[in-house]
């Protein structure tokens, strides 16, 4: 099957364009936008790992290495589309418009971080693996029923494809022609379990065959491949042609979360050599330099701006009002039930020392 699902590349590892058909769609502006977002989410990610190490946020799931997959796909979305992330996809949500402060709040154990900016359809990070796939199908189906051209994109990893919800989600989307893009980031490891122990298939893209859904296997570190293939899939969805499965082949350099040590289950030399030869940010940087589109000065200024923006978000996080215990009671139901009201009153009484 791997022959049928050849890796689609638009730009190679040296930053050279290998598919001429996109030449006309690639502008200096577009690549600068890509670059800015890649740097922005990488800066955030590194900062978040460091904040966790200092005990300033909780356990954190880093995405370093997967930036092109997240930025390229999120930039292909339109304003009213729906985004259903997993917990490792805040690179995509911040690119689509979620605020850095809110993402930090989420990782600091605050529900407030789950509230997207007004008008943005960004759902909460899916924690139980693959459960977000049926949600995306339902939300997409609702858009179809309303007669809009909006679509949904849902993010998940390689391990998620072993879950029932993956298969039920694909099947429902297929039967209903739901305008949804299943965006798989295959980073080869589900925490510690490598892909060959997760599945016998060599590709994830081939799993779409069973549902008669078109699929494509792309180089997930090639931001052009990610962007253009996601655009195509979204266009299919908007035109009423149903779902698409994208397998975006990538790699996470670090741990599953800050709570595990990847050297326990894999040789981190692999991560280092991939960082050296196949880094998504370096690849775009090389491309831009070949074209003479990104001079050092501009790139340095972008890096500085991103660092400043992230620092500012951290300041906002640390100045954020302390947790109010009412919050855990007030939103379980539209109107609290008597049991919840009684429990709230008791807690508040104790908390206020009454």
């Amino acid at each position: 099957m791997i022959e049928e699902f050849q890796l689609v590349q638009v730009m190679d590892q040296q930053g050279e364009l290998v598919q001429g058909e996109y030449e006309k769609d690639i502008s200096e502006d577009l690549t600068r936008t890509f670059y800015r977002h890649l740097i922005r989410i990488r800066t955030f990610d590194k900062k978040a790992v460091s904040l966790q190490r200092q005990g300033r946020i909780g356990t954190y799931a880093p995405f370093e290495g997967q930036e092109a997959s997240q930025v390229g796909s999120a930039l292909a979305l339109q304003d009213k589309d729906w985004l259903f992330p997993s917990y490792r996809d805040h690179g995509a949500t911040m690119t689509f418009g979620h605020s850095l402060l809110h993402i930090l709040l989420f990782w600091k154990g605050r529900n407030e971080g789950c509230v997207p900016p007004e008008g943005k359809n960004i759902f909460t990070p899916g924690i139980p693996i693959a459960t977000q796939l049926p949600h995306a199908v339902g939300a997409a189906f609702a858009e179809k029923r309303k007669g809009t051209r909006n679509a949904a994109i849902v993010y998940f990893g390689d391990g998620a494809t072993s879950e029932g919800d993956f298969h039920e989600g694909l099947n429902l989307a297929s039967v209903w022609d739901a305008p949804v893009v299943f965006f798989n980031q295959n980073n080869h490891y589900a925490i510690s379990v490598p892909m060959h122990k997760q599945m016998k298939t060599k590709t994830i893209a081939q799993k779409a065959l069973a549902y008669d859904i078109p699929s494509v296997r792309i180089d997930g570190n090639d931001i052009f491949a990610v962007y253009f293939e996601t655009l195509k899939a979204l266009e299919r969805a908007r035109n009423g042609d149903g779902p698409t499965l994208i397998e975006s082949v990538t790699w996470r350099y670090g741990a599953h979360t800050t709570a595990d040590d990847p050297t326990k289950y894999r040789d981190q030399q692999e991560s280092e050599s991939r960082r050296k030869d196949n880094d998504p940010v370096d690849r775009l940087t090389k491309f831009m330099k070949h074209r003479g589109w990104g001079d050092e000065e501009w790139m340095t200024s972008v890096q500085k701006e991103c660092a400043k923006e992230v620092d500012l978000a951290v300041e906002e996080l640390e100045a954020y009002p302390a947790a109010d215990p009412s919050v855990i009671f007030d939103y379980v139901f539209a109107t609290p039930t008597w049991t919840i009201q009684e429990q709230k009153d008791k807690l508040l009484e104790r908390w206020r020392g009454e």
Binding site: H135, G164, D165, E168, T339
Partner: protein, 331 residues
């Protein structure tokens, strides 16, 4: 109710169909989904004729995929619709348990009300109809234990229609349990028009002074039978139908048990971890000093609901209830 209200005589399952018809007519955001609910009208014919009347877009036959279609219903709920999903039997809901437990019931709390999940899940419930294994479960406590979802269980046609309409209008997820034994066991005058029965409110089915019998679903009839038999022995029972299992009607319970001081709780679900224990907790918390006898529970056993060849041993009947009534009355 106005005397001009048009009434029709319906079984419970017909009243349920009627509630869905009323709501499909009222709002284009209401849609039905489930297995065999279209052409076939559902395994119990609860959606009989609705696909023909409202079309395949609004009454959807889904693949055999409880986790998938409940998950998709959550997504539709997020995006402006009010899905009413049918699970063929409560015992078939377990694949969807994760979606209900980890999402439907938490979305409002998780997002401080930004996203909500106005979803109704209907499920035929309980034993006593000689159904195969897994078709007779009464695991309501798995859901009353789950914060963020209401659990409703009518015992009559009138309550079924009013509660289902209230559930569909409720801004939060509701599990709507339909006791199979009651589907066609009786008929009742039901208003043709839209009306609601408030979620969270039980009712007094029969007033009495000596012993309170608290029940829901198919056990309400069993409790009424026991009350009649007790009357022959000089014990005047009050029978309560809780109708909603979360949130429980604490005021109804308290008023009655403070009057009688003697209580029997009847449910067909397993004893351990059953909703009866929550009723007991309410009695303990609000009415301890009024009690003249320890409360008795008459329940199914801590066994799986047995194959139907054994279900008469498992299900509480009026004899078991009567024995408990006599015990608390003579304590």
């Amino acid at each position: 109710m106005s005397t001009l209200t048009k009434m029709k005589t319906l079984t419970m399952v017909q009243a349920i169909t009627d509630a869905m018809r009323v709501m499909l007519q009222e709002s284009e955001h209401v849609l039905l989904m489930g297995e065999d609910i279209g052409t076939n009208g559902g395994v119990f014919r609860a959606t009989d004729g609705l696909q023909q009347e409202f079309g395949e877009d609004r009454v959807l036959d889904t693949p055999l995929s409880e986790a998938g279609f409940i998950g998709a219903a959550i997504g539709m709920g997020l995006n402006g619709f009010r899905p009413v999903a049918e699970v063929q039997f409560l015992g078939f809901i377990y694949p969807a348990y994760e979606q209900i437990m980890t999402h439907a019931s938490r979305i409002r709390a998780r997002t401080l009300g930004h996203f909500t999940c106005p979803l109704v899940i209907r499920a035929p419930y309980g034993a006593g109809v000689r159904a195969p294994e897994i078709h007779s479960d009464s695991t309501e406590a798995l859901f009353t234990h789950m914060p963020g979802i209401k659990v409703v269980c009518p015992a009559t046609p009138y309550d079924a229609k009013g509660l289902l309409i209230a559930a569909i209008e409720d801004p939060d997820p509701v599990l709507f349990l339909e006791p199979m034994r009651c589907y066609r066991s009786s008929r009742e005058e039901v208003p043709e028009e839209k009306y609601t029965v408030e979620i969270g409110k039980g009712k007094v089915v029969k007033e009495g002074e000596d012993v309170t019998i608290i029940a829901w679903g198919a056990m309400v009839n069993v409790a009424e039978d026991a009350a009649k038999e007790a009357a022959g022995k000089g014990i005047d029972c009050e029978v309560l139908d809780l109708r909603t299992l979360y949130p429980l009607d604490k005021d109804l319970i308290s008023t009655s048990v403070q009057k009688t001081g003697r209580t029997v709780i009847v449910h067909e679900a397993h004893a351990t971890g059953g909703v009866g224990n929550d009723v007991l907790a309410i009695i303990n918390d609000k009415s301890f000093l009024y009690q003249k006898a320890p409360t008795e529970r008459v329940t199914g056993f801590d066994t799986p609901v047995p194959y139907f060849g054994f279900e008469d041993f498992y299900l509480p009947d009026s004899k078991r209830v009567l024995a408990a009534v006599e015990k608390v009355a003579r304590y």
